[in-house]
Every structure is written in structure tokens, then in C-alpha cells.
Symmetry: C2
Subunit: 387 residues, 2 copies
């Protein structure tokens, strides 16, 4: 298999983008990524587009062909990838495979979600499609409810506190303040999180990532071609994915996401690296408890110990390990199909040294972690600045 690198990255501004639809968001991120890679649209050989529920949010399926059309990639194979909130990360893995295999040299991976054209209730119902419709959503549980069950059990087993969970949100908002693309550039306090409205006990409003509009695009190239386009290609050291039961009730554990554990383990083995080698990581913090689970399941902390470490500041910008420097899903926003690709863009900027006020000093190796649903899909990538 061939080495694959990211040679360009672009984002739209994340947030409530009332004046922009899927096409405008894609164009905003896509043009930025193509310009970054100094590449023209006619050099693109294939496109993967991640989006979760564009049919229900915007009445639009067939979104990858629309992206290819909108970005001027005439007649290339275009494939939409949908794996709930891991659609972006899964699309990135497909792009990686298409190049690693030798089938294509230059592939664009995009992610987009336009969520604010429907009511909050409709959005919650659409997002419920990430779980088991018959056995979970139809019975009345939504995603905050599923993660609340995980949080409750984590509190019971390990003594994790609501204040510790709140500290995840506080840190991610702090990072988001330094990210021009972020939805929430606003500091919050533990006290504000604790006093925010209960969504599903113990999760409160400020424990939850928001409804967002946004798009993200990266340009991938085989390593032998990458240097022609960008001085600092970012090599993808590993690209791994696992699945698990769609239903939370059928999992082996409520306090671990097995798909994350398996994908991370495969990724570390493939890259011949260990958790201690990672300088900067974007993890899937759809809810604050999810970041705690991720830090433990990837192997940065032993089970039951991450919450205290986060509350102690170990994962703040330029802490022991810098986590969610973009602001994460909580602070940067969570347009679901875009998130996995946005994570990759953030790591590209960090490893290039282009992350401005939120730059992790001396960052050389990065990671992204993208989860679908309550853990039925997990995708893990490891990245390194190419020599």
C-alpha cells in the first residue's frame, strides 16, 4: 500500500448559517481547501462526501454528486458516505483507501450538514436515526438520553462527577475562543454549565454539542505527488474503523465504547505508535461524557481516571496532551457530516504549525477520533508531518 498525505484543508464558518445551504457551505470549504493545496478542480480524480441526514434536513440526497458538480469536478466518481456522526471520518478513510490502493492519486473528501432549516424537534428526531429506530428512538429515547445513561453508569462505577464533566465543556469553549471557524467563541464557567437547563439528567444544555451548519474539505494525494502541491504534506499514518451493535442495550459495557477501543488499537499498531506519542488529538465530544470515554477508550487514561485529569487541566491547550484544540464538537459546533473532516483539518493546521493562537507547541503527531451514534461506528486516524 502507498503512503497518503493531506495537502489541503478548508472549512466553512460553523454556526447558524441562515443564508447558506449545502451548496454554499460546500463551496466555502471546498474553495479554501483547493486553494490551500494549490490544485485545480480538473486534477481531482474522485470525491467522497460525508453527510448524515441531508434528506431529512434539506430534502437532498445524492449529495456527493452535488458536491462534485458544485466544486467543478466534472464527471469524477462521487460517493456519499453516511455513518451517522462518523460520516466525515468514514469518508476520510474511504479516500485514504482509494489512494493507498493505487486506484487514484488525488481524492477530495468533504463533509457537510445543514441542520438549522428544520425545528429542534425535527433535528432531534433526525439525529435519532443514528441509533436503532425501532428499539431506541421509537421507544422514546433520544441521543442526550443514551449518553446520559452512559454518564450515569460512569458516575456510579468510577465516581465521576457532574463538575468534572462540566470541565470538558469549559475547556472546549476556551479553545473555541481561539478558532475563527468556531460556532461558540465565548468562555463559560463550571458554574454556568451546572446551572444550565437539564436536557437528560445528568447532562445539561452546556454538556451537549449544538445543532450546527457547516462544511469541511480536505484534499488527499499519494505521498509521491503530495510534495508537488504543498511544502508540508501531512501523512496519514493509520486509518482504522470498527463497528458495534447499533443498540446501546446490547453492548458489553455502558462505560466504554468498544468500537473506539478496537479502532484505536488497530491504528496504534498500524502506525507503530502508542498513546504517549500523540501531541494533539481531536476526539468526539458530542456530549461531555463522550470526551471522557474517548480519552479512556483510546488509551490516554486508564478507565475511570480521565474525568479527574481533564478537570485538573491535563488536556488543556499545551497541557500534558492537547485535546480538542478546535473547540471540539461542543465549542466549534457539530454539523454532523462535517465533523470528522473538520477534525482532520484542525490536525493538519496543528502539525503544519499554522494553528495561530491555539497552536500546540512542537506538535508532530496528531490523531482524530470520530464516533457514529452511541458508538456503533468509530473511526481513528493518526497523522504526522511528512519529513
Amino acid at each position: 500500500m502507498r503512503d497518503v498525505a493531506i495537502i489541503g484543508a478548508g472549512l466553512s464558518k460553523f454556526g447558524e448559517r441562515w443564508n447558506s445551504g449545502i451548496k454554499e457551505l460546500m463551496a466555502e470549504a471546498g474553495i479554501m481547501a483547493l486553494e490551500d493545496a494549490k490544485i485545480t478542480s480538473h486534477e481531482i480524480e474522485m470525491l467522497y462526501g460525508g453527510t448524515m441526514a441531508s434528506g431529512r434536513f434539506s430534502g437532498q440526497e445524492h449529495v456527493a454528486a452535488l458536491m462534485a458538480d458544485q466544486l467543478g469536478f466534472h464527471n469524477v466518481p462521487a460517493v456519499r458516505i453516511e455513518n451517522a456522526c462518523a460520516s466525515g471520518g468514514s469518508a476520510l478513510r474511504q479516500g485514504y483507501m482509494a489512494i493507498a490502493s493505487g486506484i487514484h492519486d488525488i481524492v477530495v473528501v468533504g463533509g457537510v450538514e445543514k441542520m438549522t432549516d428544520v425545528t429542534a424537534s425535527e433535528a432531534t428526531t433526525a439525529l435519532g436515526g443514528a441509533g436503532d429506530q425501532e428499539w431506541e428512538l421509537f421507544q422514546g429515547i433520544t441521543f442526550p438520553g443514551l449518553y446520559a445513561l452512559m454518564a450515569k453508569r460512569h458516575m456510579y462505577e468510577y465516581g465521576t462527577t457532574e463538575e468534572q464533566m462540566a470541565s470538558v465543556a469549559v475547556k472546549n469553549h476556551e479553545n473555541a475562543c481561539k478558532n475563527e471557524f468556531a460556532q461558540f467563541r465565548k468562555r463559560i464557567t463550571i458554574d454556568e454549565v451546572m446551572r444550565s437547563k437539564v436536557v437528560s439528567d445528568p447532562l445539561k444544555l452546556l454538556d451537549c454539542s449544538p445543532i450546527s451548519d457547516g462544511a469541511a474539505v480536505v484534499v488527499l494525494a499519494s505521498m509521491d505527488k503530495a510534495k508537488k502541491y504543498h511544502d508540508t504534506p501531512i501523512k496519514i499514518m493509520a486509518s482504522e474503523q470498527s463497528s458495534d451493535t447499533l443498540r446501546l442495550a446490547e453492548r458489553e459495557s455502558l462505560t466504554a465504547i468498544k468500537a473506539t477501543q478496537l479502532a484505536a488499537d488497530k491504528a496504534f499498531r498500524h502506525a507503530k505508535l502508542a498513546p504517549k506519542d500523540i501531541d494533539v488529538v481531536e476526539v468526539h465530544d458530542c456530549f461531555t461524557i463522550a470526551e471522557i470515554l474517548a480519552m479512556e477508550d483510546i488509551g490516554f487514561y486508564k478507565k475511570g481516571t480521565a474525568a479527574k485529569a481533564i478537570a485538573d487541566g491535563e488536556t488543556a491547550l499545551n497541557g500534558k496532551i492537547s485535546v480538542n484544540t478546535s473547540g471540539g464538537l461542543k465549542g466549534c459546533g457539530h454539523p454532523v457530516g462535517a465533523t470528522g473532516v473538520k477534525q482532520a483539518a484542525e490536525i493538519v493546521w496543528q502539525l503544519r504549525g499554522d494553528a495561530k493562537d491555539r497552536q500546540v507547541k512542537g506538535a508532530e503527531i496528531g490523531m482524530t477520533h470520530n464516533v457514529g451514534g452511541s458508538g456503533a461506528t468509530a473511526v481513528v486516524h493518526i497523522y504526522k508531518r511528512a519529513d
Copy 2:
């Protein structure tokens, strides 16, 4: 790149499956395919699942993870592919690439759509998401309308008649009578098509493929492993895909689907074959005019001449070339995400000599052709019985 073969195929019964949901349909097709391949679920390394609008039809996204869960493929990477009505064909191409690349040895490709849980109006709206929501559907045009425009122009330019279009439906219903999985095992006459209710002039009810429930599954293996599972692996000689503008109004021509022309041309070149070499082909006859366009765009007939040839019986079972022996989308049914995979299953059975009453005598080389929307995606595969 490595050679890839199909070692197992399975279908659910197509039709109005009131008592079955996505899970039951997938299980029905999946178990048949696994048994056919004499393979156990724990040998499967990856799954691609094609479905177009499960979110709108069933409230269920994240369908590939659900399929993997349902079929017992524990923890494998599972990826949903959505390319409108070409979701199944696109999923097959991803499965092919995953093995050709050397990344995986055994991959399952499934397709499913459960369309009858919504009203006909809701289904038509959901299917409209295959076109440009803002520029087509929102303005009031649905898919019969888009294909009616193509039919009208084809009639104007080439003198194609409504009776010739009707002959496509008559032939495909005739074939469907011999297919135990088909939705419509019922002969119809030209006169019945002509007298059926106008849907969008000149297309009448019996020119249109139906709303259907169904699933299809194939098992792919690297050629070196294929013979261990099945005596007659079917080799994939080519797997090609192209895209075009989502909007019909922006195409170069209304009487040709350029994505089909490009994908077919690439496929013939890759396989070092020509249209005359194909013994049996499943083409995308979502409407009768679509089969006429396909026969011309793939290169079986010169532009403007296919309609007469079909009416003359050249494409009937064991005619000059046997087209849509399964009954096609018109006769067998069109559960959109399943269709592209069902086409592959039909060709597998034809090339093995297992197609019973609808067997094409001496069939050695087959083809499938799957279209998304009004032609924004086209996927073409060529198959040959392995020696």
C-alpha cells in the same frame, strides 16, 4: 491491483413487504448470500451497505452498521453508501476497490430499501432528493417529469414512439414472470401500457418502475481466495463510475446520459471488451425511456435506433442480446438502494447457469448498469465466469 470475484449472492423477495422492515429484508438476502458462498459471518472483513433514503422512508440512518449488526459481522468496518438509485452499484464498486487494493480479502456488499411505510406522495418527495432539491424538486418537478422530458426530446429527435417505449415494459414483465423474486409476475400487453393512466406525458403508469421493498447481498473475495468458497466464482472484469451535473437542465444533451457513456467506455477499455461481447445485461430501466437511453449510451445501439430494436424483440430473453432478464426495475421492482446489488446477483446466476427458466443460453460475459437520479451518477460493471 488484484482480481476480485463474487462468491455468493442473495435476494429477498421484492414487492410490498408489509410485514418486513429493513432488518428482516437484510437478513433474508444476507443469509441466502452467506449460505451460497458457504462462508461464516466471522470471516467477513468489511461491509458496504447501499441505501438511498432510509432516513425518510424508515427514520433510520447509520444503516450499514445496522446491517453488520444484524448479519453478525461483529466489529467490522461498515460503511453506508448513498448515491440515490445508484447506491447499490456504488457500494459494489467500493467493495471491489477494497479488495482490489489488497486492503481486504472478503467484503460483503448489501443494498436495501423499505419504501412502503410512507405514502406514495411522501415516497415521490423522498425520491425527488435524487435530483437538485432547490432547482428541480422545489420547483415542482418529480422524477417521472424529468424522464418525461428526456422521452419527449428523444421522440422529437429520433421519432421514438410511445408504443416502442411500451415494448420495454412488456418485455421486462415477461422476464419477471420467470423470476421468483420479482414483484410483478404478470404479463402485460402494449395495449395495456398505452391505456394505463398518464403519470407525466408521455410516460404512463406502466412505463414506470414501482415503489418496492427489498434487499440484495453479494459476497466478494479476492480471486485467490474465491475458489475456496465457490466452484464458480464470477470475476469482476471492470468497475467504473462517473458523475454529471445533478440538474437535468445543465446537461449537454437530454437524449443521452453522459455519465453512462463515460462509465461504460472506461469499463470496456478496462476489460478489453466491446458491446458485442456482452451476452446478458441488466440496465437501469426506472422508466421505459431509461432502458432505451441505456442501450444507446452503453453502445449496444447507435443513438436513435434502440427503441425499434427493442420493439422488434432483439433484446428479449435469448434474443440478440438478453436485457433485464430479472425483469429489470420495471418488472422485478425497484427498492432503490437494493437495485444495483440485485443486478449483480442476476448476472451471477446467469453466468453460473443457475437462472432456471430465464437462463440465457451460453452466457459467458455479463454487465450491470445502475443510474442515480436523472443521470448524475452512473456505475457500470462487467463480469465473466472465472476459468
